[in-house]
Amino acid sequence: MMEMDREDGRTPNQLRPLACSRNVLHRAHGSASWSQGDTKVLAAVYGPKAGTKKNENPERACFDIVWKPKTGQIGKLEKEYEMILKRTLQSICILTINPNTTTSVIIQVVNDDGALLVCAINAACAALVDAGIPLKHLAVAICCCLAEGGYVILDPTKLEEQKMRGFVYLVFPNSVYSVLPKESLFVKGEPMEHGLITSVTNGVMSVEEYLKCLERGQAASAKLSDFLRRNLQLQLPNDLSKSG
């Protein structure tokens, strides 16, 4: 299979340089900025606040997501991203700990150079950790792009996304470090972190190509999990408790 030359010289499996910083905004209860190459997203979390919206279940915590694009008015694309983010974050949080509360997550796009939704999900997850919202596990998001020859490249730039046949956004839970033997944690013969939380595809592909993207995504999510774990642990001893 021909090795594809990517414009910035990366190999097909190589991610762009990742940077994550927490506690960037002082008024927000939790905040994080996440950048992958030139794509940068800022996430802020306020909550839990009392009360839920009208149609929501009061026995659980509820989420309110606001997506602010870099330029332009809020349209259908932003509403779709808000919905996907809301349902993804609802599935990683333990909703029964703070019932009848609303947690607001505000996403501000600072720069869009491909894999924007993926960056936003990672930023929102880090911001939730910064705010101390109870989570079951972290959400690790990755973008796979399908090129003409049928091979998969990871973490595309905006130019690559537009040229390619299709792309897939995948979100997995983070990998588990456990004292128990690995096999006892398997579900249906697969490790828990291979389960898919969210998948959004764009463009036509065959079912086999999608499954290939899933495999690559699972492998890359392990690397991202390690990065997240190191990053979130480092800042813990220096964290002063946030006074109200």
Partner: protein, 298 residues
């Protein structure tokens, strides 16, 4: 709480309804353990699907699709416009999905449904990426005139699996579409030709749009180890994890959409959903072909 029996007099019937409302998950689990759902369907079976073409007489193409109780009305209207400079020989399609208050008690005039813009965007993405319609077919005069097709889909009854029914009605409306005959009048403008006009038509006769591969979709719900195909709105609200698979008639994957959800999808679940979808493609293709040939006989 004493377990209610299914049969018996009115008082035990009331108990079943109360059990269903108060403990919906346990009610469903009792059925799922017997591999059946409360409406009597096996787990992998979709509800009865019907299609009626030509529901809106004034539109150029229209269709009414019903999957179980979920009802969608789609209509296409064509208008002549000047194509953009970047694509002078391509027409344009604008898709809009509406959820009027008639469809569901949670939608009120001042409180639009959250799902409407999301579904609208999903539908336009699916129809454009599946390549069902070649935009060059919508061109009239290179660089000067092309067709703009406005597709509006109205949800008349929202009972689960909205995307499936909406996509089916959109596809059926395009299958029914007849492009009107137009001619160039003296001012150099394109006008729609009516029966009496004697002028030379630009396009010869009313023709149907040629469709390439047609996309079909199926929504499945994941709950523990079960996969339920084609959920009702009650099932969707209780068991929130859903997967929507869109395959086209040549079995290519147009979309695999899983928006969050507490149940994780492993590759076995992915394979099972795709297998259910392949079966459904055959059923839906038959229903569509029957409806289209029924119209042609008339």
């Amino acid at each position: 709480m004493g377990l209610p029996t299914g049969s018996g007099d009115l008082s035990s019937e009331m108990e079943v309804d109360a059990f269903r409302r108060l403990f919906p998950l346990q009610f469903y689990e009792k059925h799922l353990s017997q591999s059946i759902r409360p409406d009597g369907r096996p787990l992998g079976k979709a509800r009865d699907t019907t299609l009626a073409l030509g529901a809106v007489a004034s539109a150029n193409g229209s269709a009414l699709a019903k999957i179980g109780s979920t009802t969608m009305l789609a209509a296409v209207k064509m208008e002549v416009m000047t194509p953009s400079a970047e694509s002078p020989d391509e027409g344009c399609i604008a898709i809009d999905f509406h959820m009027p208050p008639i469809c569901s008690p949670i939608v009120r005039p001042g409180r639009p449904a959250e799902a409407a813009p999301v579904l609208s965007k999903q539908l336009s993405d699916t129809i454009s990426s599946s390549g069902m319609i070649d935009l060059k077919e919508l061109s009239l005069v290179h660089g000067k005139a092309a067709w703009m097709a406005y597709l509006d889909i109205y949800c008349l009854d929202a009972d689960g699996a909205l995307f499936d029914a909406a996509l089916l009605s959109a596809v059926a409306a395009f299958s029914h579409l007849q492009i009107p005959v137009v001619s160039l009048n003296d001012d150099g403008k394109i006008v729609v030709l009516s029966e009496e006009d004697e002028e030379q038509p630009v396009n010869k006769e009313k023709r149907k749009l040629r469709l390439n591969t047609i996309p079909f979709s199926l929504t499945c719900i994941l709950y523990k180890n079960y996969i339920l195909a084609d959920p009702t709105s009650e099932e969707e609200s209780i068991m929130e994890t859903s997967i929507t698979v869109v395959l086209d008639s040549s079995s290519r994957l147009v979309s695999f959409y899983k928006p969050g959800g507490s149940v994780l999808a492993y590759s076995s679940a992915v394979q099972d959903c795709v297998a259910l979808m392949r079966q459904r493609v055959r059923e839906l293709q038959e229903i569509l072909d029957e409806a289209v040939s029924g119209m042609e006989v008339d």
